[in-house]
Structures are given as C-alpha cells and as structure tokens.
Point group: C2
Chain length 343, copies 2
DNA sequence: CTGAAAGCGCTTACAG
DNA sequence: CTGAAAGCGCTTACAG
C-alpha cells in the first residue's frame, strides 16, 4: 500500500516587492503599472510589464481583494435534492456562470442548500468570502432570498420569482410554452392535454400559464379533463395519461422531459402509436429524450447563455451599475416526428 | 421597467481590533482566544467568547488565510462536455465534496475544463486562490493531472487512473461488476452479453475488467460475439442488441444506465420481453432507470460518500498528513425484476 | 510621474 | 498569561 505525504516545500511565489526591488522602483509604482490606475510613465510601465512577463508573475488576488474590500468570488447555490430533469439545467447554467465569471476575473464557489437549511449559505456570508450570490431556480417559498436581503448581500435569481424586488433572469418559459401550444393548435389539434409537474416549482406554474395563454388566444376551453397538475410520481402520470386517452385528447404536452419520457413509456406499453393515435410534445428538452423514437417536438432553451447572463447581471450590480429588474431570454421550438400530422 | 442599483452602504463589519478595544486587551489576545493557540487564561478567553457571541462576530477568513498562507478553498474541476449519465455522478459527488469541505471550514470553487483547455485551471492556480484541487472522473489522458503535478499543487482524483503516483479515490467498479456478473451466472445464465460505453473513459475499462473477471472465474469463454465496446451512439447500441439476440444471449449487461435505457427501448420496440426472453442488468444505477418497468437489476454506488471521502483525503493531504494512494469504496447490488428467473 | 506610509484583518515569533 | 511589533501581498490617499 503506497502512502502519500505532502512535503510542502516552501515554493515561495514572487511578489510585488520582489519586482520593485529588482527594478529599483517602489511597490506603489509596480502596483500602478499593473492596475493601470494613476499616472505612470509609459517607460516604467513597460519595464514592469516586461519583467512580469519574463518572470511569469501573477498578482495574489486574495491580497488584492483584502486591500480593496472585495473577494472576487461569487457563490452559486445548488439544491441538495435535485431531480434528474433539473440536472442538465444546473450543469449548463453552472458552465455559463463559470465562464462569465472568469472573464471578469471572478471565481464561483459552491454552496449547497437543502430544503430550508441555510447553514452553508450563512457560513459563506459570515466568512466574508463572496461579493454576491446566484440563487438557482427554486421553490415557491424561498428562504434563501429572505436571508440574503436581510444581510444586504447582492444576489440574483437564475429563475423567476413573483417577488418583484428581487433581481431575476430567466428563460421566457411563458412565451415559449404559449407559442409551442399555438403551433400545435395551428396544426389542427383541438384537444391538447397537459401533464404538469409539481406546482411547488414556479417554473411549472409559468409553463402552465403559457399553455393557457394559447388556449385562450384560440378560444379553446380550458378543460379540467385535459389539465393534470402535480404529476410528480409515475402513478400520477399514468393516471393522467389514461384519463387523457379516455377524454379523446389528440395531443399531450408534457411540462418537462422526465414527464415526457414517462408518458412515452406508458403509451408504448399500452401500444398507443405516437403520433398516429396521439401526438406528444415537451416543454423542455434535455438529453433525456435525445434518442427517443419518434423524435419529440420540444422547446429548447440555452441554459448556458442563461447562466452567463445571470452572472454578468450580478457582477454589474455588484459593481454598482444599473441593471434591469427582470431579464428574459429567448427560446427555440423544434417540431419533430412526435407531432407530425398523419391525416 | 424597474431598474436596480446597489447603493453599497459601507456596512462595516466588526473586526478583531474592535473586540480588543472594547475589552481593553490586545488583538493578539483576542486572536489567541479565538484560535485556541497559545496560552491564555480561561477567564479572558471566556470574556472574549462572550463578546463574540453577543456581537455575532465572525472572523474574516480571507485575512486569516493571507496571514497563514492558506486560502481555505479547494477547486473542483467540472467537465465542459458532460453527458447525461455522468450528471448524477457529478451532482452527488459535488454535494458530498461541499459537505466535507464546509465541515472543515473550507469552500469549494468551480473550475470548468473543456477537453484539453486548461485555461481556467491555470488561471485559478495563478491567482493563488486554492490550496488544492479535486479532479473528477475523466478521460484516459489527463492533461490536468500533468499540469497540477508540474505546479506542485496538491490534488486528488475522484475516479481511477492507472498512473499510480496520483492520489485517487473511487467506487470499486471492478469488484462490483464482477460480483453482479457472478450473480447473473449463478442464477443460470451462461451467455451474458456486454454493451459497453466509450473506452476513452477509464471507468468503462474497469467495468469491463470486472465483467471479464467473473467470466474467467466461472470458466466461461470470453466471446467476441457477446462483448460490444464503444457503443456511444444509439446506432451502435442497436447493432449490439441485434447481434446479441442473434447470438442467443440470455442476458445483457449494460455498462451504464443510459446504455441500458437505450437497450430497453430497443427491446421494447422489437417486442422482446424482459426478462422472459432476455434478462437485462446495468452496471450503474442513476435516476434514469428509476421508473422503468420492469425494475432493472443494478449496481448502486454512493457518489455523495465518494465525494465526501475524496474531499477529506485532499484536505488531509494538504494538511501534511499521510494518506493512502488509492482508496476504494463499496457498492450494493440490487436484484430486480429485469433479471428474474422465469423458468 | 513617483514614493513613503498607512491600511485591509488577521497571525505569530519574540519578549516580558 | 499577555502585548508590541512585524508581517501576509496588495492598494490608495497624500505629498512631492
């Protein structure tokens, strides 16, 4: 059995003082050359930059931050209990956040918040380790937002909240769901069923609004026979599908692709052909449905772009710039075989 | 349109100097009371603690770190291109890492590395922002490990590498896959097919080894007709399934649950009943297969525990403690309906 | 244009 | 047991 031990050789890094000494100038001057703040002659500036390039010096961001009362860190909360559908959303969002952050020399720290346990968030705040935080799409009642407000820590929600005084940026679920539903109506469907996820998530409420917007626009009745909310277990989905078949729905719209996957499996078990007997579409497309046959019609959002934008909004806000209270991003609709017209 | 602007009221935090002044003692003493290092009378220690509790003072970890040449941060690399199967692994691993880190007052920063682009990792290292890094399960050729070695930055791999001088902790895939395969043999199967994922991932190679260990142990031939590697597209999986049916396989073992899901869908389309006509099992169980009918036999790993352990190994290594070069975690086998004996 | 000095909020020999 | 002082690696008025 091999054993490892870190010898921790001192490995001293070069500092601003070393540069000053080597170049026979003051630390102040070196600092100015690097930051570009304050008057400095082009000549000495170039000498410093040349030395830095040659020695591969990198400023210690921590020390810089300490002097400036900044940390150059933001936190991203991740839910402790995350279901499969949300994972691609987080994964891609995270990706976008990281990229936008590093472009401005910021780093992102992870803080888990499980249910109403804000322990880790409080710790992070108490430790003075971040300049702001990004809350990711979350429950209707959000304890975290309340805490951050009370602490006066800048934050933005990557998602939507009805609370208009919290900064938020989100995909335009409502418009997307409306338009997708409209397209399904245009192609001849009149009895479009909805299999919805848990209404504890505001995103699910918004999606439903989009669906209802479309019905209203087409003067179709909003029928209880066609709308099934809170289908958060396979049993509920199965029940919903059965009722929809009974109710002669010509199309089923699923609120997310986990539900959609379940619906497709049930339909397959029941030998109900898609799209011939009934069409199917999903309000959110992740890789879950990727290889399904038939390919399924869906809404596509760019979660990475969402993350990136959320991050830059936060950074601008931290900097003291003006930012819009709510920002909405676009979407794309992909019509595929699962809603192909067959008559 | 509402506009937000951060007014940045000074919001000055209480410091060690404030406490010293209030209590008429030196900063040194306050520091000692908090850290517990150095001799200090129980009485003054209690006075300080009482004051801290009353004022809700929290030390500035950044300043502390600067003085101690530590950051109290570790980095976690996340792959820029992550497929669906890996997401639960990362998500849970992250969770475990965060918890173990915060238990020791450490925070975890995210750094994305896409392909061979180490830009973000280099930046993080250059900025002196972390004491060490956790590399997550990765490709066979890992540029990141090389970079970290050259920089003498402590790191551990959450996964397995054949490079024995990198610290690693992983689930015991090999033993798990061996045992699962053995169980399938014991229950009467003699022609167990394997549908494998991309061999660029070392985890897939290890899983295959476990499978082959079991065949060897049972003196079954390791047949090319039954082993299909690199099935990283739906087409390849489909082809593999067809060949396996032709070859009269009595059971199909899938290397991960995305492959398994594909296999099950194909079988369902072909109207091949599971487990009656052919049994199916998976080497890794995430939520992907959760609601499948029949329930599928699988190996279960505790990825959160893996993350937590990986993190504490790194922290111990950073601290200068001795750690084992390679640590393996256990697994669980759940036999379900998809491998039920029907004869 | 440049520098000496104080400061960010902590720690840690060193001396008493 | 306690404190004055120097230091971690930067920045930033202030003065020249």
């Amino acid at each position: 059995m091999e054993i490892f031990r870190n010898d921790r050789t001192e490995n001293r890094k070069i500092t601003i003082a070393d540069i000053a000494e080597a170049l026979q100038i003051s630390k102040t001057t070196v600092s100015r050359a690097i930051s570009g703040k304050g008057r400095i002659s082009e000549e000495t500036r170039e000498r410093v930059m040349a030395y830095i390039a040659a020695t591969d010096y990198k400023p210690n961001v921590i020390a810089k931050g300490l002097a400036q009362h900044k940390t150059y860190n933001i936190a991203l909360t991740i839910p402790g209990d995350c279901n499969l559908v949300d994972m691609p959303f987080f994964q891609n969002g995270m990706q976008g956040i990281c990229e936008a952050a590093s472009a401005q020399d910021y780093d992102v720290m992870l803080v888990t918040v499980t249910g109403d346990d804000l322990g880790n968030l409080e710790r992070m705040a108490a430790n003075h380790k971040v300049d702001g935080v990004i809350l990711s799409r979350s429950m209707v009642h959000d304890a975290a937002a309340g805490f951050l407000k009370s602490q006066q820590i800048p934050f933005v929600l990557m998602g939507t909240s009805k609370d208009r005084d919290i900064l938020q940026v989100d995909n335009d679920h409502r418009a997307g769901c409306r338009e997708l539903t409209e397209r399904l109506i245009q192609s001849g469907n009149t009895r479009i069923g909805l299999v919805g996820g848990s209404r504890t998530y505001v995103v699910n409420r918004i999606r439903q609004q989009g669906y209802e917007d479309a019905l209203r626009g087409a003067r179709l009745e909003r029928s209880g026979q066609l709308i099934f909310e809170d289908c958060d277990t396979p049993e509920k989905v199965e029940l919903a599908v059965e009722k929809l078949l009974e109710a002669q729905a010509d199309c089923i719209v699923c609120m997310d692709d986990a539900i959609c996957l379940a619906v497709l499996q049930i339909l397959s078990r029941k030998r109900v052909p898609v799209p011939e007997r009934i069409q199917v579409a999903s309000f959110y497309d992740s890789m879950l449905l990727l290889n399904n046959k038939p390919a399924v019609t869906s809404l596509i959002f760019d979660d990475k772009a969402l993350g990136a934008l959320t991050c830059s909004v936060l950074l601008r806000y931290i900097r003291g710039d003006e930012v819009k209270g709510r920002t909405l991003l676009g979407y794309e609709i992909i019509m595929r075989d699962s809603t192909r017209e067959t008559h």
